[in-house]
Amino acid sequence: MIIKGRSISPGIAKGKVIKYDEAFSFLGGVDTSTGDLRVADGNIAGKVFVFPKGKGSTVGSFVMYDLMVHGTAPVAVINRSAETIVTTGAVISSIPMVDMIDTDILRDGDIVSVNGTDGSISIETARYIRTVSSAIMVKGRVLVLHRPDTARSFPGAHSLVSGKIEPGESAEDAAAREIMEETRIPVDKADRVLEPFYVREKDIVWEVTVFLYILDSAEPVLNEENVAFEWLTPEQLKADPKAVTGVPGALDRLLNIQ
């Protein structure tokens, strides 16, 4: 499975993920002779080093070069958003680097291929399931479905109208089919669509493509996949603790597309 990010430093590498969840400074953050982290447990030598973004002194770029010279550098770097220090260090040290990746979808120990040339990564140890999720809006409120507590994925959670894409099926066809199956609401063409986002659940990465349908009225008739529905404002959905991770944010982006 290929997840698209952005190319920062070219080259291709594969390795085991070591993750650090805060902004990271190479200066002071790592022992260059061993690759041992000083700010957390673990060693980055030969690993795919995943952290949200760089920080600290510009000397950090040369620390990365020093790691490369000592053979203790990471084989690749993945960031949520690249800044200049790590970007500079990765390029001068020929370490492949990709950014604009949601680092929450990666786990310590994942085997990941990083393609710094085309700006993509692939998680080899995760299963990948393509899904659609549709926001049906009527008069400023969105249809939210309650999943049963016995559901295999996201039990008890509150979600949009969601389901897997069948082999050979387009995402938009899957969206219309799921809406019909789960709510009996007929829809035509989607009003808006987002680039897919990803949600990690154990060893599964869910690819979610979100559609927006704006209707004048709708009368949901549920099938056995859901136990209840409600119409919420985007703010209410944001405040709902049972909302599936990423869904309120995706709805926000969907409604704010220019």
Binding site: R6, T58, F62, D66, E83, T84, I85, T88, I92
Partner: protein, 391 residues
Amino acid sequence: MDLTREEESILIGEKGAGAQKAMELVVALGKVYGAENLVDITSAHLSGASYKTIGDGGLKYLEDMVAGGAKVSVLSTLNPVGMDRDRWKEMHITPEFAEKQLRIIDLYGRMGIKTTCSCTPYTGDNVPKFGDHIAWAESSALSFANSYIGARTNREGGPGALAAAILGKTANYGLHLDENRKPTVVIDAEIDGSFFSHSLLGQAVGMAIGGRVPYYRGIKPTLEDAKTMAGAMAASGSVALFHVEGTTPEASKFDVSGLETIHIGKEEIQAAYDKLNTTDDIQLIALGCPHLTVKEVKDIAAFLKGKKKVNKDVEIWFCTSTSVRDQCPDEVRILEQFGLVLADTCMVVSPIEGTFQRTGTNSAKAGNYLPTLCSQKTMCRDISALMEVVL
């Protein structure tokens, strides 16, 4: 990013591995900042010159660059290094440090960079013209070039500026573009007009506005005043461009009506002063951050002429460039009766923490960096007040 055919061919390696690496870096940094294309530059000024700051990783990087045949294609100068290349023993520098530092200077020289090792290249070695696109590192120098000269540069890092120097191009974003050079805040300044008050003004403004573009009213800075303000604002904030009504070349272009106005007067200057003064008892007086100009050397010599250094326990460093030192031999002789007139270096990038713990300076920029980069307590005063300690 929109690259020309020639830029693309460099990126895929058709002009050699060194140029390819440089292009990869310029393009990657351009992406980080959302640049749409590259722009030709007329000069570069590089930081990352002191062995103290770049370490063995930086040294090896430069070795590899030179081994790969890297050469700059535009006029390029180098920032101060960790020691005077001839007088390092008098600065308490170890032979191990000196050997590596001299090696670094040599490596930059082999790439075609003028190893003048000064943070004020705009006074002679590298003088951009109004409107020139340049790729400068060294926060005080680049802010001076943007503001007082009207050249155009972002805050480049060492390797990024070197890559730009090799290609003669840098990513076109930020302060290269008209829309980002507009002032965003008006500073209504009320100071006594001395050199030192300009340094404290820069300190107070950097503390107040971070990285915004200030438009000053109420001051008429000389080159020296602008130099110390630029250094202070870049250290206490991250200001890379400022305008001064009636003084800097772009100021008259802008309509500042409606902008937020911040008054900087006695109270703010006192707060800046208090922040920079953490000791009354010093072991070293270090002047020349940024490097002393000819005028400053002459002024200091005039002040010291006929006086006698009584307190021999306090060392004095006058930091400047080789060209300034060579231009005023008579004044240098006077200064040498009080301390060392050093070229190539300054108290911030030299490993002074091996010898000193408490340093006096007339520079707000140094007052910011001495505690963090050199573990010093600081006394920040004007020159006559500093000299009272030894006279």
